[in-house]
Amino acid sequence: MGYVPVKGGTQAIDASIKRLTYERLKGQEILEIKTILSTMGSMVDQVMSESSLYSPELAALAIKQGEGSMEEAVFLMRAHRSTLPRHYYSETVEVETMLVERRISASFKDIPGGQLLGATYDYTHRLLDFGMMEENAEVNRKWLQDYRDSLSVIQSGQEVVYFPKVVDYLREEGLFETFEPDNAQPTDVTKQSLQFPTTRSARLQVMTRGQTGAVTSFGYASLRGYGEVHPTVGEVRVGKVPIYTAHPNKTDLDPEDQFYIGEIRITEVESFVPVTVKNTNNEDALEFEIGYGVCYGQNETKAIAMSILDQCLEHPNTEFPTHDEEFVLLHIDSVESTGFISHLKLPHYVTFQSKLDSIRQVKKEGTAVES
């Protein structure tokens, strides 16, 4: 049945979708949601981050349904997100209260509180582990048991200690400006369309839900020379932060009345960027500023790239694409960019026919002039 004459499209689509199902089932293996949850953590984190929906289970389902395609998984999650009502806004998250799993500084050797490597691929060698081709559940159980036994001899501290922020030390020295917290209601980019020039809260939201690869690329471009920001990472921390909401019917703002609604795991980055500022005598002086990045789950590359772009966009500069907020913010969204690129696969018969006609006419006239 032909596709072009439109008729028969219904049957063609049915057959195509059936074929898709066949491709997923033909190997006769079933990937369990729990398998994705326990072994594909970083993919789950990326999908949650890019879809602005914190739900590991749904992200795993989306990954399964999308057969591992990030593009599909994020698409599915965002579409699902549209069906959910927004009930509340949380109170400001106090990142200082994070239960830190990993915390490193590339600026100072001995940061107060110390460096905590946590789980990271950073110091592994990327050599294919052929042993994984025949992993054995029994061996894994034994490894787990040994690991847990080795941990049991380590004594935990009696009280919970929070890690101080590296930047606080430099603030005391006057190398960073101290700002009053901006408690203005942030723009919600899912409820309002972006207007330019935009606000920092909107920029940070668009970047945190931006496509990991795109955010990374633009951040990299700034580092390489197509931008002016090349920071030193002050602090990267990964861990869980508690989320609270205010009592919906009470107007007084007693923190005691807030509801704890759970915790989310995030990556937070503060980058230090030297900038030129005017001092009190109106002379140019050098000072540090912070580039900020945060995203769901553990995705340090994206959070660092976001911190670079945050600084870039704080300092607009038409010379560099990475300092142009329209250029960056309008192009990093996964659903928008992949959607419009893939629309090129749709029929363009009418527009192309029209283009063809134009080109033929121009060519004809051209030859007429020549002869």
Binding site: F108, K109, D110, Y123, L127, F130, R224, G225, L286
Partner: protein, 288 residues
């Protein structure tokens, strides 16, 4: 599907190609020689350029030292050492004078190097003109035309703005009076160590696919004006809190108990040496 790793990871053809680029780099001091940089088992930007040089040069009898930010025990140094040793079985050392290959990130050791040693520096951004020109095509032409006005202008603008030059690490240098070169992000403190160095200095940038070199006894001058001379980092006359040395590059640390700033040798193996020799003197004198 299983594969055993070759000696020093690379196949012999790859090593040969890298050595050939290295020879060209030595022949044209400071000139950035493009090479077919390989994907390595460590991340781009974590020292793959240096690692490729090390692996292409190393032989079974070599003794290797790897430092990162002055420390032999720094995470990245440990990781690189582990990889080279696993694929070659060479001997490792922390002692600068015992090594014949020294791969380093961001530092030149405090102990002067000798003609029997090769220093390999990891380079993130080999192009000294990158801050003034984003395009690779254009910077290459500027090098060819000996057009370094952009680099000079950068320094001049800093003087106009801040009253002095305000470069950080990676202060550009003139090599052999011809090419302006990024000395890898070594502190300005280490720039003079490149001048007439007895050891061969090789610089490798894996991500940017460039190899360049400072051959032994080559002139290396930091860019500066007569009336605004080049200056190295200052540490307010402080000395190392452990060994007391003052004329070395120091780390600024925060004492967690007192909250005060303290200083310590950045080159950890040098500091250890100083402490050991003091200890020895102490022991001998007490026995005497």
């Amino acid at each position: 599907m299983r594969a055993n790793t070759h000696f020093a990871f690379f196949d012999e053809g790859s090593k040969k190609e890298i050595r050939r680029a290295t020879l060209k780099a030595v022949a044209i001091p400071g000139y950035q020689v493009p090479f077919a940089s390989r994907e390595m088992p460590i991340a781009r930007g974590w020292g793959t350029g240096g690692l490729q040089l090390t692996l292409s040069l190393i032989g079974q009898s070599d003794v290797l030292k790897v430092i990162d930010q002055g420390a032999d025990e720094s995470v990245n140094a440990v990781s690189i050492k582990k990889l080279v040793q696993e694929t070659t079985g060479v001997q490792l050392t922390d002692q600068t004078e015992n090594a014949d290959l020294i791969q380093s990130r961001h530092r030149i050791p405090e102990v002067p190097l000798t003609k029997d040693q090769i220093l390999i520096l990891q380079v993130p951004i080999p192009e000294p003109l990158r801050p003034v020109e984003a395009s690779e095509y254009k910077t290459k032409r500027m090098h060819a035309e000996d057009d370094y006005s952009g680099a000079w202008l950068m320094l001049f603008e800093q003087i106009v703005k801040y009253g002095k030059t305000a470069t950080y690490a990676d202060h550009p240098v003139y090599v052999n009076g011809r090419y302006v070169m990024a000395p890898s992000p070594i502190p300005r403190f280490d720039n003079p160590k490149m001048h007439h160095s007895e050891a061969l200095i090789l610089l490798g940038a894996g991500r940017e696919k460039k190899i360049y070199a400072v051959p032994p006894y080559t002139a290396v001058e930091s860019l500066a004006f007569d009336d605004y001379p080049f200056a190295v980092e200052s540490f307010n006359g402080q000395g190392c809190r452990l060994c007391g040395t003052g004329d070395v590059f120091l780390d600024e640390l925060i004492d967690q108990e007192t909250g005060k700033t303290v200083y310590q040798c950045n080159d950890t193996s040098y500091c250890m040496d100083q402490l050991n020799s003091k200890e020895k003197v102490g022991v001998t004198s007490s026995y005497a």
